[in-house]
Amino acid sequence: MLAAIGVVTAIAWWDSRRESEAIFRDLGTEQSLVAAIAARDLAAHLAALRENPSLGLHLQGADDAANSQEVRPEDLLGNPASLEQPGEFRLFLAPPNEPSLMAMDGSVVSSAAVRAALEHGLDVFRLDRAQARAIGLVARTAMAGLARVDGGSLGRWGVVAVATAARQRDREDRAFWRFVLGVGVATGLVLAFGGAALRTQRRELQAQRELAVAAVEHQRDEQLSRAQRVATMGTFAMGIVHEVSTPLGIIMGRAEQIRARAADGERNVLAAQAILGQVDRIQTIVRRFLDMARGGRPSLSRTNAAELVRAAAASVQHRFAKASVLLVTDTSQDVHEVQCDRALLEQAIVNLLLNACEACAPGGHVELALRSDGERVAFVVTDDGVGISSDSAKRATDPFFTTKTAGTGFGLAIASEIAKSHRGDLSIGPHGERGTRACVEIPAVISGGAHA
């Protein structure tokens, strides 16, 4: 943009220079025309003087003239004094054999340059500022028109009309500065509008980026809550199956015993048979419910515990960023693999992390560390948040227990259930001066088994 402004300014400069050259040329032509007209008057006067010698000739200011007749220079040129414009335009007579120029008001100036131009027979001559000032004009470049008159016995005369281009130049200059101002204003406007447009565009881009980030965050939140729902369902289903299976086993066993003892009494056998049939039915329903809650994914698999930690941390990273809480993971300790339902165990850790995050003020710290004593693997979440009272710690894993205004009270209950279903435990307690420590501990996979 700056280059474009430079080019436009250069073109304007060049154009104004060309324009002023044209003005000088025209001015020169005009002056030579004025000089030629004045020269014709002069020639007529000189001729009249020659025919009537009694008139004689004595130019005012020319002391050494032989003739007595006084003639004012303006008389020789008709009445050109009206043409004079002080400082702008002057008309001179160049009498024969004299180095000076005689103005219409009778004053005498000398200009060697003009005399030389006359003698060289030039019609147009350009005067620089100093030369213009020397002949009584304003100090601007001026153009002189030159004409010569042969007065016969009265000698060779010259007529010089000089004008400065001051007015044209002033107009020109004003036009130029107007132009510069115009360009400047236009440039300013372009810059201002361009800048504003650029800023608007940048702001729009920023807004778009923020929208995209919000969309991604929203998507992650959706994923997170979907995983949470699935985990909740799965955990409940598993809890139900576990809770129901043993009582069903007891009912089944007792019914079988009744049937065995009542081998002769037909009605008791039928009753026991009916009980067994209904137990089968309940069992089928409960198993189907469990399968549905699991969504058909494999339940247990050998999983690298460090990988699990990374996955859990990644799925809550955006929440921590939003809350300005720092999450660090420590997987430095070499840890066995764990046999787990990957999605469920990850969800248990996620629930602990979210709890820790919500307990922290902006600038808080949460650490997720992997610890193992070889037999058990612990996922330990510590925070420096609001802390937990011993009473709350005891009740933390009860369903519906919450200290948060927006909490459902399920997070830790689910985590606890998931831990139990992996033959593990969830423990919660204070950490340091303030802050909380939550730990899911499950058995490690002991490589090689216990065959020996």
Binding site: M238, G239, V241, H242, E243, V244, S245, T246, P247, L248, G249, I250, I251, M252, G253, R254, E256, Q257, A260, V279, Q283, S299, L300, S301, Q339, K420, S421, R423, P443, G449, A450, H451
Partner: protein, 153 residues
């Protein structure tokens, strides 16, 4: 999950009455462990009714002590129990007497768990709920195998 049934009666629960554990040499002794005592009792009664000597307990810790102190020919245990769990009992039993059959039962039924427990040395794996006659057959086969294994040569 709270355990309402884990109450005073649990420690001493052999439905049969022999004063000394080892005084019926021909009758195999089966230890049944389930944190729901009623479940352990049902199984123990059934085993007793079919000629075994059966001990029922709801405590993994007590079961561990009995495995160490008494002659137990077979162990039937639940997996998920508070404190000492079924897999710990299984491992302890394998260390104390590798030839003693261990039958595990659990409500958390997954194929992988079955594989893990059997690779850990369990003789058989029973998903809850199961038919008592299935359990009887399993215990019977397990003891036959032990007898064949122990007395064969």
């Amino acid at each position: 999950m709270p355990d309402a049934q884990k109450v005073p009666e649990c420690p001493n629960d052999a439905p049969t009455k022999p004063a000394r554990p080892n005084d019926v040499p021909g009758v195999p002794t089966v230890l049944v462990v389930d944190d729901r005592l009623e479940m352990a009792k049902v199984i123990a009664e059934e085993l007793t009714a079919h000629g075994y000597r059966a001990l029922a307990t709801s405590s993994g810790r007590e079961a561990l002590e009995r495995l160490r102190a008494e002659r137990i020919d077979a162990l039937v245990t639940d997996i998920a129990m508070p404190g000492v769990g079924g897999l710990e009992l299984l491992r302890a039993s394998m260390l104390l007497d590798p030839s003693r059959p261990v039958i595990v039962m659990t409500a958390y039924t997954t194929l992988e768990l079955a594989v893990e427990t059997t690779t850990d040395g369990a003789y058989h794996y029973l998903p809850k709920p199961f038919r008592l006659d299935v359990l009887l057959r399993t215990v019977g086969r397990a003891l036959d195998a032990r007898r064949g294994h122990g007395e064969g040569p």
